[in-house]
Symmetry: C2
């Protein structure tokens, strides 16, 4: 069947199709393949931001802190229990992914003082590499680089081969930012734990699009951003997860007043409050958190299992169309073919990727370029239709066919 | 003259009176003495937030990063050069005050590896104490506590008496959060530098209300928040200042991708970009930054010298009224009397302060309570009138007179 007709059929059968109307679609002709970089604006976010600015900041003023104070923990709770498969009290929303990576990695390294090695895939997202490079340099530790297949991604065997009793910490993305390959979270977590190390997962490309199941995997530590599939807004505060049993054992390196028990008594010494709130640092950004709250509520309402199912179908359809229309024009698939091995985007490789991304944007199709040769097609299940896939890849076919 | 009549006269003569209309005054009867804790909402902020959310996030989507990317540096530049007396390229807006304190304190301690002592006033704001306590513990350093007069504040002599060749770093508030006492910034900076140490100034209670003159003082390092006199909004991103000459010498402990040269090449190793942008960390929160931009623009337009002059007059008038109306009822002044020795708020001490603050709020007068016995009266020059002072302290008089 022709991809365009097939897309229409898939859209009619899509149980999540109605969620598109919950977002602002300023230009209905635009094909947006970048919801995995900046998720679209929920209508409710625009409204709630106006309320928080106008009525709360403007009207309630300082009194609004009565209900703002626990927002990082409240939004974290919904995110943790409804989206990430964590148990109650294990997730909080605060700071940036980078700052959270630093904080949890430092705490993990402090907890394994006799080990001198950090495991890190060479294909890891830049900020993760830079943070760990900095920590390794400051502490005189070694980074052991993992070389995984650039398309198929990291396997448990890759990690097993590199593990030994000197590994303090492994820092790994659940979904690779380039290929969308899924790392086997539970299996790797078990392996590293057995070897006495800790794993810090970066969930930036899986939160809100995959079933993460942190509790089922017994994951120790995780961070991730909220502005991709969680639609929290540009630079919205990130999250962090610390398994309940580790929350007291590990020591936060940055001791701020939002982690202080009886914060407004402003006592003489730092006494960390119990629970995940003890992992807060400074004053949380309320406007940013407002966006995160709305996005997480939408994802929870849509149900992450249904979102994950649609992500599989969208990416499968994109691959089907790429095989039919683009492979003959020199495009190679840069993502795994089995549905269960990939996240919510598809990477298409072509030597002219950089130029073609610019051309696509000019034609109203917005992907991401990832150096040196990848067109990253992000398919955010709440806002991308199958029709978008057919239309967007159709434009790419026209461009490449010249 | 009766304080109420005198207030009317002062308001008529106030060159900044017109700025009140630039802010949302939802309840015109409310007396807001807490602009030093959460500054009021500028009308322009409500509008610009709607534009940034609706048109930029909603409409431009990922393309808006073209102009968002340098927002932390652009807003920092205006703040640094027009409000803080820094030179170009020395201030950036990012993260929280607490995270910035940690980052700059760590960099400073790394730069003085042979010294084992941190100077810290016992009266320092809690988050500053907690951060340094954590750093001292992790690095095996000692904190040498400075005991300053609780009302008159820290003097250069206090610092001189505690200085020696083992002091790596002093962390000091320019304006004390409780008493509003001003520390002699230039004098202390010179003293500590002469002894070979570094000073990290916390400008949270002086930014936007005093002439800070960082360049004139030759200050090395500073941080501060933007949600007080700068009216950036609840939990808005903070700022940090690093003297130009130190920017390469010091090493940021958290190496994030927003500090990377050629960020989107996503290269294999961290190469810090030149200048103050090299002190960024993760993805900046654009909604929060939008609020900061508006607030800083307003302060720059009003002119910080005029703001400082009005802060002096407002606090002087508050003290005059307190002397006349409240001293006979057991209220003691908890702030310095000479104008040049205090910032933008006045602390009033009374044994029943906690209960009286609650009563005031019920009567539509909003101060801050600071344990154990202070009513903190914040007088934000752009939004507080002399009439507010007379009305608010009049209500306190009624309450105390029973």
């Amino acid at each position: 069947m022709d991809p365009t007709a097939r897309a229409a059929e898939l859209d009619r059968a899509d149980p999540l199709a109605g969620f598109r109307d919950r977002f602002v679609l300023a230009d209905p002709e635009l094909v947006y393949f970048d919801g995995n970089s900046l998720g679209r604006l929920p209508r409710a976010a625009a409204e709630r931001l106006a309320t928080v600015a106008g009525d709360e900041w403007g009207g309630e003023l300082i009194r609004a802190w009565d209900h703002w104070l626990d927002l990082p923990v409240r939004v974290g709770e919904l995110l943790g229990t409804k989206v990430l498969g964590a148990r109650a009290g294990e997730v909080v929303v605060a700071d940036s992914t980078t700052v959270n990576l630093y904080r949890l990695a430092t705490a993990a390294l402090d907890a394994r003082p006799d080990r001198r090695t950090i495991l890190l895939p060479r294909s890891e997202f830049p900020t993760d590499r830079y943070v760990l490079e900095g920590l390794a340099g400051a502490r005189g530790l070694a980074i052991r680089w993992l070389d995984a297949d650039p398309v198929e991604g990291l396997t448990a065997a890759d990690v097993a081969a590199a593990l030994d009793a000197d590994v303090a910490l492994a820092v790994l993305s659940h979904v690779n930012y380039r290929s969308a390959a899924i790392a086997p979270l539970a299996e790797i977590t078990a392996l590293v734990r057995e070897a006495g190390g800790l794993v810090l997962w970066d969930l930036s490309h899986s939160a809100g699009v995959l079933n993460v199941d942190l509790a089922g995997a017994g994951a120790d530590l995780a961070v991730g951003c909220t502005y991709k599939y969680l639609c929290g807004g540009p630079g919205a505060p990130a999250f962090l997860y610390v398994r309940g049993e580790l929350q007291d054992e590990l020591r936060p390196p940055i001791q701020g007043w939002f982690a202080q028990r009886d914060q407004f008594e402003m006592g003489p010494a730092f006494e960390r409050r119990a629970g995940i709130g003890g992992w807060l640092v400074g004053t949380p950004g309320i406007l940013g958190l407002t966006g995160v709250a709305v996005g997480v509520e939408l994802v929870a309402e849509a149900d992450v299992a249904r979102i994950r199912a649609k992500a599989g179908e969208l990416t499968a359809f994109a691959i089907e169309v790429a095989d039919a229309w683009l492979a003959p024009l020199g495009v190679e698939l840069g993502s795994p073919r089995p549905i269960e091995r990939r996240g919510g985007h598809v990477s298409l490789r072509h030597p002219e990727a950089r130029r073609r991304c610019a051309d696509l944007i000019e034609r109203g199709v917005i992907p991401d370029f990832r150096a040196p040769d990848s067109i990253r097609v992000g398919l955010s299940p709440l806002t991308t239709s199958f029709g978008d896939v057919a239309r967007g890849l159709g434009v790419l076919r026209e461009l490449l066919a010249g």
